[in-house]
Subunit: 440 residues, 2 copies
C-alpha cells in the first residue's frame, strides 16, 4: 500500500465490473435482509427474493425504507443476523420519538473501519501520520468510526473527543498531530483559540482536516483551510449507513466519491420518487451492500444532492456526489406544487448581480397563496430602476421555468435580510394554520 | 472457550511456570525498554541488560520509575518502539503539570483488549451478553479500554459514554443490557434515577456491574448490589499500565487477581522501598511485561494495597491484591516517623465501640509536634468515664505498637466530625509552615 490507492482494484474498478459486483452483493443483501422481521414481512409480501435481481436496476422493484420504518420497528426489527453475533449498537440522539438504532456484526465494524481507512489514505494519510479526533465518542458514530478506521490505517490516534480547545491545541503541538477530524464550526473555533494562545497553526505539523456532519459551503471550507493552513476534505455519512465513511472527497476536492462497492446510490425526485438524471438534484437513496447484521434497502436519506457527471481526475471510478444542499424536510407545497428552497437558490445563483442571501415568504392574500422571494443585490451593482425591473422579470421567468409558479420578486440592499448565527432562515410561512420557518 | 476460563492455561498456570514466564518476559521488556531515551540512559548507566535478569527477583536491580519521571520525559521520552508503529495515545488529565502520556502499538492494544475480555469472561460475561459502558470515552482509558475488550469477548456493546442517566436506563431496558461498567457513585445515581422513573432495576436483564476508578468500601459495593439487583466486581487499572484490566475480581469477590503474565507486582514499604511480606500493606509497584511501544519498569503507583495470602477458590494462580486503601500521597511525617492514615484507621476499626469517622490533627506546642486522633463513638455505647478512660488507653497502646508514637486520643460523640461531600478530611496539619489537609 505504497501507491495512491488503499485498495487499487476496488477503487479503480471498471464501471461494468463494479455494477456486476453490486448486483451480486445486492442479491446477498436481500437474502440476508429476508431474515429480519421487517424485511421478511415486507419483501415476502411482494415475493422479492435474491432471484428478483438480474441487474442493479432491478433495485427499483424494492420498496423504499424510511426513518419512520426504523422508528416503527425500534429497536431490533431490522436486525437480520443473530444478536449473538452483534458486537456494537449505535443510535442517533432521537430528540423526537424513538432513536434510530443500528446494530453491527464484527464483519460490519471491520468493513466500516476499512472504508474510513480508504478515505484517509485517499487524501494522503499514512501510518506515519498522527490523527486527532475531536468528534464526540460514545453512541455518536463520528468517534468510534474514525477511531477504528484510523487505527486500521495504522496512524497514531489521539482520541481527544469533543471540547476543551486548549487541550486540543496542546495535543496538536505536543503530539505532532498532522490530521484532524472536526466539524466545520469547531475548526473555526480552534483557529480562534490558536490565535488567543498566540500560536500560529502553520507552525504545527497539522496539514489535513476531515470535515463533516455539518452542512457548509465551499467558501467556508476555503476559509477554514486558510485559517488553519490545511487542506480540508468533505466527509459524508449517517448512522443508518454505519456513520462516516459513505462518501469522501479525493484530493481533487470536487465532489465526494460514494463507495459503490459498499452502497448503491440513487437520486430520486422526492415527490414522484422516480430517478432523476445524473447532474440533477434530488433525494439521495442508499442501500447497504456489505452489512451482515442489519442491511437497509433503499433508505430515503432526506438529503438533497446530485451525482456529479463525468470521470474524476484521480482515477477512481466510484461516482461522486455533490455536497449536501439541504433536506427534503425543507420542502414546502404551494398551489399544489412541491418547492425546495434549493431550487430557488440554484436559479438566483445564475444572476451575478445578486448576493447569496435570500428569503422566501409564503402568505395568504384574499384566500390566495402568494410566494415572495426577497433577494439581496450584490454590493449595489445598480440602482437604475429600468435595469432592476429588467432583472426582476428575468428572475421571475427563470424561476417559473423551474418551479412552475410565478413568485413576486423583491430586490433589496445587501445586509437587509437577517441571518441568525450562520443558519439562515430561508422560508417564512405566514399562511393560515402554518407557523413554520424552514432553515437550511 | 465454553469453560470457566478465557485462557485456562495462562490463568491456572502453576506458579513456578508463571515465574519462569515472567523472567523471560522481563528480559524481553528490558531489551525493548533500552531503546527508549529514558531507559537507555538510566539502565545503560547502571549496566542493566536482559542478561542481568536470572529470576524475577532480579527486578530489584532496576531503579524505580516515578510519575515525575514520566512528566520530566513528556511526551515521548519513554517510547521504546518506532512511532510509526504507534496506533494510539492516551493521557491522564494532567491537572497539575504535564499530563501522563502512554503510547500503544497494535500489539499493546490487542493485549489490553484481551485482558479486559479475560476479566469479563471471569465473572460470567459471554458473547450473548449486552455490555453497556457508562465510562467517559476519548483520552480516558475506561472508555476505549472496555470497548475493545468487550468487542474482543464478542458481547454486544452499547457505548453509552458518561452522563444522561435517563438515556442510560432507556438503553438498559430497550437493548436488554446485562452488564454495565460504571464508577460506584454513578451506579448509585442510576439506582436513584431508576426509582424516579418508576422502574425496578430487577425487572431489567441487568445482572453484572464492573466498578472501578473510584475508591469505595465493601459496604458500598454491597449496597450497590442490593440497589440494582446485580453482582458488582472490582476492577483495578491506571493509564500508566494501559488502563483498566490490570487486576480484577473473580466470582469469589475476595480480592482482585493481578494478571502476572502481563505485570510484575511488588508491594514495598513506601519509605524504605524494601519489599513487605505478603499480607502486609505497602505501595504497589508495577512492571509491564507485554508492552512493545512503551514498557514501564517498577512504576511506583502510589496506591496502597497488599497481596492477599493464600490460594483463591476459583483455581486461578495469579495473586490477588486487596482493594486500594489509599495513596502514599496521604502519608505524613511526624517526629521522623512515616504515618499513613490507613494505619490509624486499621487500628481504630479493631474497637467495636468506635464509629468509622476520625480526624488526625498535627500541631506544634512549645516546639513539640503533637498528634491528636479524634474518633467518634459508635451510637453512644457508653458515657461512663472510667470505661472511656480504659478504651482511650487501649487505643493509645495499640496505636503505639503500629506507628511507634503515642498520640492523644479524643473520643467524641457520633456526628461531631465534619465530613464534606463523602470525601472525609482525615488529616489536619496545623504545624508551622504546613497547611495541607490530607483527604482520602
Ligand atoms: Zn477523485
Ligand atoms: Zn479467584
Amino acid at each position: 500500500m505504497n501507491g495512491e490507492y488503499w485498495q487499487p482494484e476496488i477503487e479503480t474498478m471498471p464501471r461494468e465490473k463494479l455494477r456486476q459486483l453490486q448486483t451480486e452483493k445486492l442479491r446477498r443483501t436481500i437474502e440476508t435482509a429476508l431474515n429480519s422481521p421487517f424485511y421478511g414481512h415486507r419483501l415476502g409480501k411482494l415475493g422479492i427474493t435474491p432471484q428478483s435481481i438480474n441487474s442493479v436496476d432491478d433495485i427499483r422493484k424494492i420498496p423504499f425504507t424510511t426513518k419512520q420504518d426504523l422508528r416503527d420497528n425500534y429497536p431490533f426489527g431490522l436486525v437480520a443476523g443473530n444478536m449473538k453475533d452483534a458486537i456494537r449498537i449505535h443510535s442517533s440522539s432521537g430528540t423526537t420519538g424513538h432513536p434510530t438504532v443500528v446494530v453491527y456484526s464484527r464483519h460490519d465494524i471491520d468493513s466500516w473501519a476499512n472504508m474510513i481507512a480508504r478515505n484517509m489514505y485517499m487524501v494522503g494519510c499514512r501510518d506515519t501520520d498522527v490523527f486527532q479526533n475531536s468528534s464526540g465518542y460514545g453512541m455518536f458514530t463520528g468517534g468510534l468510526g474514525f477511531q477504528y478506521g484510523a487505527e486500521r490505517l495504522g496512524a497514531t490516534t489521539v482520541p481527544a473527543a469533543a471540547g476543551n480547545s486548549k487541550r486540543q491545541i496542546m495535543f496538536i503541538c505536543d503530539f505532532g498531530t498532522t490530521c484532524l477530524h472536526a466539524i466545520p464550526s469547531y475548526a473555526v473555533r480552534l483557529a480562534e483559540v490558536f490565535k488567543d494562545e498566540g500560536i500560529d497553526p502553520r507552525s504545527t505539523r497539522l496539514h489535513t482536516l476531515f470535515i463533516g456532519a455539518e452542512p457548509h459551503t465551499d467558501e467556508q471550507r476555503r476559509r477554514i483551510e486558510k485559517l488553519l493552513g490545511v487542506k480540508a476534505y468533505n466527509s459524508f455519512g449517517m448512522t443508518e449507513m454505519n456513520g462516516p465513511g459513505v462518501a469522501f472527497e479525493c484530493k481533487q476536492q470536487d465532489g465526494m466519491h460514494l463507495w459503490e462497492d459498499n452502497y448503491i446510490v440513487e437520486i430520486v425526485d422526492p415527490d414522484t420518487l422516480e430517478p432523476v438524471p445524473d447532474g440533477e438534484y434530488g433525494e439521495m437513496v442508499l442501500t447497504t451492500l456489505d452489512r451482515t447484521m442489519m442491511p437497509i434497502l433503499r433508505y430515503r436519506t432526506r438529503d438533497l444532492t446530485r451525482i456529479i457527471p463525468g470521470k474524476c481526475a484521480c482515477g477512481r471510478t466510484h461516482r461522486r456526489i455533490d455536497r449536501i444542499k439541504g433536506r427534503t424536510d425543507d420542502m414546502f407545497i404551494i398551489k399544489g406544487v412541491n418547492v425546495f428552497p434549493m431550487q430557488v437558490e440554484k436559479i438566483l445563483a445564475q444572476f451575478p448581480v445578486l448576493g447569496s442571501n435570500y428569503l422566501i415568504t409564503l402568505d395568504t392574500v384574499d384566500d390566495n397563496d402568494i410566494m415572495t422571494v426577497e433577494v439581496e443585490l450584490d454590493d449595489m451593482r445598480t440602482d437604475v430602476y429600468p435595469e432592476l425591473q429588467k432583472i426582476t422579470r428575468n428572475i421571475q421567468r427563470t424561476l417559473k421555468d423551474e418551479i412552475l409558479l410565478t413568485p413576486k420578486i423583491k430586490l433589496v440592499n445587501k445586509g437587509s435580510i437577517p441571518t441568525s448565527e450562520g443558519k439562515a432562515v430561508r422560508v417564512k410561512d405566514l399562511r393560515e394554520g402554518r407557523g413554520q420557518n424552514h432553515a437550511e
